[in-house]
Symmetry: C2
Subunit: 250 residues, 2 copies
DNA sequence: CCATCGACCCCCATTGAATGGGAAATCCTG
DNA sequence: CAGGATTTCCCATTCAATGGGGGTCGATGG
């Protein structure tokens, strides 16, 4: 009978509910969501029901629930991510058909690299990046470029925090990282050992809009191959994407 | 002093707020949102603030607000739209480089065709479809394919409602529409005069998953050209996408 | 220089939407 | 068919959300 109120807004709770979904977990039951989002079962069920009613979630064949098309639509139409992606896509395709490896586009989001787009090549090896996936800034070539051009406050925060290793190639020494970042600002690109795989090399360049760096374009190469052609292709694509952005400017 | 409560859930209101954004209106002030979403100004400001705090919205340089990257991320990771798009994209690229015209992928959503992806070719003409944009089912080649394979209830509802014309090529006669839909089910594809432009032809084929049609793949051709090659390229791509979906099955 | 307008942002009394415990109904599963 | 998990329903409680009012700030213009 005594109801201990939660003390948090519905919006926060809805975000927590949506955060329980992932690439590995695309469908869930209401109870699973409740457990994962730390909500009382009856509240979770009611919230899920409301979200289904507004099209944010969709029920599948029976019982379980998944992210709805309407959410996808709301998030994309009018999103700046979409504008950037649309400007970049044709040029990413060109890079990908020239280099024949994975090509990806990432932005800085909440102190991590968020991947907006990824084109994969059938011949190319495995790749941990996914669309809408994240990687730490210090542990991906895209992330390094974004970090190099991020505001100094963020940079120092990342340098101060422990640099988690994702594999043999990950930079974990702050001093080395500092030098690498300076090198990126000087040369305009980065060629880094693939932090995760260990058998690959990441190559990335910045994309600017209105002066500041807003995204990074990258490819993953087999360790053996020469990165020079990739650097050239990426730089060229970046210039064209920046032109496109200027033309599309609102 | 007297507060007339709204009588609707926060979730509904948030959806209304998000719906005020569009491709033409990517940044707004809190007051604009309030007006458009029919919310009292003080409520609108507070809601916007909460949404910014949770990363759903982002403030730009000063004052104004736009859809946040975090919303994009929440909507995409784990979304079925993403899985379909990822499976289709490489094959869409192949179609597009063969046919050299606009190529698009659409699904059925709330009795309209919702476009998940669009590849455009620089040489190709204008095209009203956009990613995250919609068109009526009877007024686009993709929509016709989706409608032809939709459940009979929906089909009859569309046939009963007035068929709004978007241009000279739009099918507005229910009897004709019925015959066209039957033809699509028989032949497995549609070649329809571009409903909007009038100078183009739409060609579309269905994509199936687990037996039922879940999407449509289409291209827009100049009225003059022969659709046979396009039909072949699309059908081929559809088969490959269906294979991919089977392989990716969860 | 002051008036006007619009956007923004507090304050705060009011209240109904949201809450969550309980319990019953339903679905699995061994 | 028993026992656990999941979902649905109910409802008294209450606090998060509400929105009117009013004050601040900045831009426009007469």
């Amino acid at each position: 009978m005594a109801n201990s109120r939660s003390g948090e807004s519905v919006i926060e709770r809805v975000v927590r509910v949506l955060e329980t979904f992932s690439a590995e977990r695309t469908v869930q039951t209401a109870s699973e969501i409740g457990r994962r989002a730390q909500l009382p079962s009856s509240t979770a069920h009611r919230l899920v029901e409301e979200l289904v009613a507004s099209g944010i979630l969709e029920r599948d064949e029976e019982q379980r629930v998944r992210l709805g098309m309407h959410l996808w639509e709301l998030a994309l139409r009018g999103s700046t991510a979409l504008r950037l992606r649309q400007a970049a896509l044709p040029h990413m395709e060109r890079v990908q058909s020239a280099i024949r490896e994975h090509t990806q586009l990432a932005v800085l989001e909440q102190e991590e690299a968020l991947f907006l787009e990824r084109l994969s090549h059938p011949d190319a090896g495995a790749n941990i990046t996914r669309v809408a996936g994240r990687l730490p800034l210090h542990a991906s070539s895209s992330g390094l470029v974004l970090l190099a051009h991020a505001d100094p406050g963020l940079r120092e925060r990342v340098l101060a925090a422990p640099l988690r290793s994702l594999g043999p190639g990950t930079i974990t020494d702050p001093q080395l990282l500092r030098r690498v970042l300076a090198g990126i600002r000087r040369s305009g690109h980065v060629v880094a050992p693939g932090s995760v795989e260990g058998v690959s090399t990441g190559v990335a360049v910045p994309i600017r809009d209105a002066g500041s760096v807003i995204a990074a374009l990258s490819v993953v190469l087999p360790r053996a191959s020469d990165p020079a052609a990739a650097v050239r292709a990426l730089s060229d694509a970046a210039v064209r994407i920046e032109e496109e952005l200027r033309a599309t400017r609102v």
